[in-house]
Symmetry: C2
Subunit: 671 residues, 2 copies
């Protein structure tokens, strides 16, 4: 008899940011995850620490932001540029917002916290869903074969304490091993380097006593004695990045290093005329960096990679962990949609195409950034050249704020992200209903994140951030905007009734994936997924809250009672469209006139990761749903979904929340 | 040899809200606290649950709000009023904000969470400072005597598991035992009842399935079948309050009760025409209530009481726990100031005078509220009388929003709270500099909380809530407003230089309590208390952030580098004074002209609990500090403070924060 082999949905290698967030998502959605890491304990100190504005939004949507912010990270709102001054001194030449207001971020700052604490929040979350990280353990072999066609990946994991190697089978293997990846090596996937130039960097975290006035700001300091980047940290700490060597140096040695003392002495010189005395050093490291990008993120759509396995670059732009998080969620929801019978297996192709393009853009930026940083350094002594290099550096920084804050990520047109050449068989009449365009300024741009806006929830009169109201639950989000012509009174919602009727009509993309046996489900309190684990609906109406009665709304929306909102600028203002009567409609471009009191109705389809798919005008006939049928038809499974055996992901989530949230049992269990 | 007797600064009886918060404050400030509770485990469910807007501000200032909000309490923004309709049904007659915008609250909602979770946050905090709650244990005897004049209170505590009774000595005994208090009984302090009328209330927490549209709002429902108050709770729960009997009933029986089923049946009738089906009941209780107030809060300024020991009332206005928290902080900071040699012992008198007056006002309100609630009930059937009673009830509710939200608490004039008859020996010229008046609308009213405002911190460009920038550290807060005539440039701060020079001058109230040996202290990173544990200074300047260099400021303010802010309405707007150029100045009434670009300089003295003491105009001479010397002279100890042996409270706090906040050791210790 063959030995019993334990089977998992996904085996995750590596418990850094990308591996942990992949595990968190899939574990919450009920998948069986085997997760290992080769370190005996989580990251104790140092490493990645910058969480960018768009990542904060994502973490908030994942309900992970609050526990992270509870550790009181430093917050960077502005960046100060310091340049050489006469007498070997430095002088501040300017400051610039880290996330300028034109980006309209909900959280316009970078949060700085050491990676270990961020990991800890995710490890705590995994504990709630029962996923345990085995450590220290390593992967020693894997192959995809047909020994068990449901679990095609065979993986050997070796526990490094016991030295016992065990064979497992899984549907997927995900490598988040970091830059030195066994999986990538075995697959013989090449890392391409953007540029032959490479750098050696020193990084030091510690507590510094200084009268340097901007020690609590992010600073780039160029001086006659070298260059430093300053990043404030939690608990009065500061991080210094110092370039130790560049392959453009005449005497370049990639193994060049520097001691803590050497770096501190260099810092003291650069900081002149300011004092510089170290209370303690918490972490110090020297490492070579090049801009590398993996050729492929998967070969067979069974063994995947993400994070530093696929892309390495300099740490200065604070992008590493952020890119890793977005890799993780992009991977997780697609696996979820394939494995739960919602979407066609072909959607997995888009993981690599979407995420590799982002990494490519990042490397392009990082390459220019590192080169200019280096240039300002080598220009020291030549006043004019240095001034020009500094100016170029600041300009590059400003021009790239959108990208570095995370809002510049734009997934290219594909089955999820509509463009004019999508859906070729659609009639021109139907195509005219599509409102989303690649060129909209901060509005309905497919592949970009949905603009944020403030609304008021009807059932409890709470002020709400509309873009965050549907949690990261693996569902496509249908944000329905009622427009200004839908009266709030019963029977006078022509557009909304048409939408409701046509979504609930037999054969619609929405109806095909509805649970067939409602009685089995706790839909009363599962307000995110009352009908289906794949869709969540939020309705925003142009009205005052007291005008709305949920029971007067068309049938579909009654099931989403907790997701009905009013767009009422007087009581829930939206700063960027202060004059619009309907600010939430205005922020997605549905208001055409200046006073903002005439708004169009629309359905805005947002992917599970918050990126916009398509937006379609509401009509009083079947047309809106016809367009949506065509859109979802690009990747949905055909026929009826067998939801009888599916669990409600919303319920799963809620169970986890209850474990976290309260109740007598919780308090008793802890005390 | 006499047996060794363990000594404590304070012995606290009872680990409900008032006892826990007392312990949290005193433990953080380095006092040795013995804390017992007679229950074997903390509150598992039910009990108090409403945290009012002002209390949220206080908890935020104590760094306790974030962990409480992490439990995801329900938030009440509006109250709905439901009245009888024809056919035995109910109909919504109106809604009203729970905390209307004219109150200008930072958090304009009530947070609802069961008491056990709120207690847990404080128990966790105590663990960080090393205070442990012994349970189950009870107090069996206490007396004040001179056997040890430093520790005049002798207390016997009996462990209810071991039955061992131990004698302790303490400087103070604090009873937070709840309504049935051994300490109060032993002291023979009477409870006076506001009104002979008493009530029997039923309260039920549970998960309800209903199509009642306002189940997530706070509601008062009056129907022909009785009255109910609905309070939403965390985790889809709801709390119902039902009046079971009133002593005005013809057949009143104070021991009248009702079963869960009876209350549920009553609720079902009242909720008609809406459905009402219980998933589960989490907690149920029936209890008699009268409005009682203790004659005294202490007899000898050694044995004190607070919370329900001193005041009992109906739970409907959601005031119990809130009043308890404010009792606790009022008591704690005064004990701290006496025991650390800062203030005269006589200040302890103000604990009773301030807190008992608040309780008296609360009982007055509660009395009217309960009577009207009862009246609407008894008027059922008489349509006209019922309509009038309902109208009166709604009017009372609206009129009392300021009080119930916590912003109506106004401590009367005393040594801390300036009024025109204070400081009789002050010359008229100096008196003319005083800006605070009892009658200011939401501005500089002594005894009230300081208005909130938005500013930008200079050192890190963070947006900040000025009123919360100095934590609850036991210090008096000197909020210095620079006014519009102080140039940000070096040497051009005439008003600020005068203030700095005179505060640092030998013999000033500020200088007398400065640490004499700075070298011993970590003042570099202790930005809240660089000079003294009794004062924290925050400076707000009319300027743009890039215009300010800390090193250009007068000496005093350089020590408070992390507490220098700019008042810049363009970058940190203040909604209530949208047109003022200097919004933070405008919010405290320092801007006189319409365009808000001419602002006066002032020092606003705020007590450690956030209530305003006095506000004095800045002058370019010694006058401002002369007024402050007179103000502080009312309660400060004379002569020089021996700070050499004192620890820096700020450092203590920071140590606790570090234990909480991060660093390698923390992560390692937990994993």
């Amino acid at each position: 008899m063959a030995p019993h082999i334990e089977k998992y949905d996904v085996i995750v290698i590596g418990a850094g940011p990308v591996g942990l967030l992949t595990s968190v998502c899939l574990s919450r959605w009920g998948y069986k995850v085997k997760h290992i890491d080769n370190r005996p304990v989580p990251t104790a100190t140092g490493r990645a620490d910058g969480i960018q504005p768009r990542t904060l939004e994502l973490l908030h949507n994942l309900k992970l932001k609050r526990p992270i912010m509870a550790y009181d990270p430093a917050r960077v709102f502005e960046v100060a540029f310091w340049d050489p001054a006469p007498g070997g001194k430095i002088i501040r030449t300017g400051t610039y917002p880290s996330c300028p207001s034109f980006l309209d971020a909900r959280y316009p700052y970078t949060a700085l916290l050491h990676q270990g604490l961020i990991e800890r929040v995710m490890i705590d979350d995994l504990a709630k869903t029962g996923t345990h990280i085995e450590r220290p353990a390593t992967i020693t072999r894997f192959k995809t074969n047909n020994a068990d066609s449901n679990y095609p990946v065979e993986v050997d994991l070796k526990n490094l304490d016991s030295n016992v190697t065990t064979t497992y089978r899984a549907k997927y293997l995900f490598s988040g091993e970091g830059a030195r990846s066994f999986v990538r090596e075995q697959l013989q996937i090449q890392i391409r380097h953007k540029d032959p130039i490479s750098y050696v960097w020193g990084v030091m975290d510690g507590v510094l006593r200084t009268n340097f006035p901007d020690i609590k700001m992010k600073c780039t300091i160029h001086s006659d004695h070298g260059s430093i980047m300053v990043i404030p940290r939690e608990n009065n700490m500061v991080r210094l990045y110092i370039q130790i060597a560049s392959s453009t140096d005449p005497d370049f040695d990639p193994r060049k290093t520097a001691t803590v003392q050497e770096v501190q002495q260099a810092a003291q010189k650069i900081f002149q005329p300011y004092s510089c005395e170290w209370d303690r050093v918490e972490w110090y490291s020297v490492y070579p960096i090049g801009q590398g990008l993996a050729d492929k993120y998967t070969l067979d759509n069974r063994v995947f990679m993400g994070g530093d396995v696929c892309h390495t670059h300099s740490p200065k732009a604070g992008q590493g962990m952020n890119t890793a998080f977005h890799d993780a969620v992009n991977f997780a929801w697609k696996i979820h949609h394939v494995e739960s019978g919602f979407a066609d297996r072909s959607i997995l192709e888009t993981y690599e195409s979407e995420r590799r393009a982002v990494a490519d853009t990042l490397l392009e930026f990082d390459n220019k950034y590192a080169a200019l940083f280096s240039k300002t350094q080598s220009a020291a002594g030549d006043e004019k050249a240095a001034a020009q290099a500094n100016k170029d550096f600041v300009e590059l920084f400003k021009a790239n704020c959108e990208f570095t804050s995370g809002f510049g990520v734009a997934y290219a047109a594909n089955i999820f992200n509509y463009t004019e050449s999508s859906l070729p068989s659609l009639s021109q009449d139907l195509r005219n209903l599509i409102l989303s365009h690649d060129k909209h300024e901060h509005k309905l741009r497919p592949g970009r994140v949905m603009p944020n806006s403030n609304v008021i929830r009807v059932v409890d009169a709470n002020k709400a951030h509309l873009e965050n109201e549907i949690p990261f639950n693996g569902s496509f989000r249908l944000f329905v905007y009622g427009g200004s012509t839908s009266s709030p009174k019963r029977g006078q919602h022509k557009l909304l009734s048409a939408l409701s009727d046509n979504l609930l009509k037999s054969g619609s993309f929405y109806q095909r994936f509805m649970h067939k046996n409602h009685a089995k489900l706790d839909t009363h309190h599962d307000s995110d997924n009352p009908h289906s684990p794949f869709f969540s609906v939020a309705l925003t109406l142009c009205a005052r809250r007291p005008e709305i009665e949920i029971e007067d709304l068309p049938e579909l929306f009654q099931a989403y009672r907790d997701h009905v909102y009013v767009d009422d600028s007087e009581n829930a203002p939206n700063a960027k469209v202060a004059n619009a009567k309907y600010g939430s409609h205005a922020k997605v471009g549905l208001v055409k006139n200046d006073s903002g009191d005439q708004a169009e109705g629309a359905v805005v389809v947002v992917r599970p990761d918050g990126h916009l798919g398509i937006a379609v005008k509401l009509t009083d006939g079947p047309e809106t749903v016809e367009v949506l049928d065509a859109y979802f038809g690009q990747f949905l499974k055909q026929g009826e979904w067998n939801g009888e055996n599916g669990s409600s992901w919303g319920s799963l989530l809620r169970q986890a929340d209850t474990r976290l949230g309260g109740g007598a049992a919780y308090v008793k269990s802890l005390l």
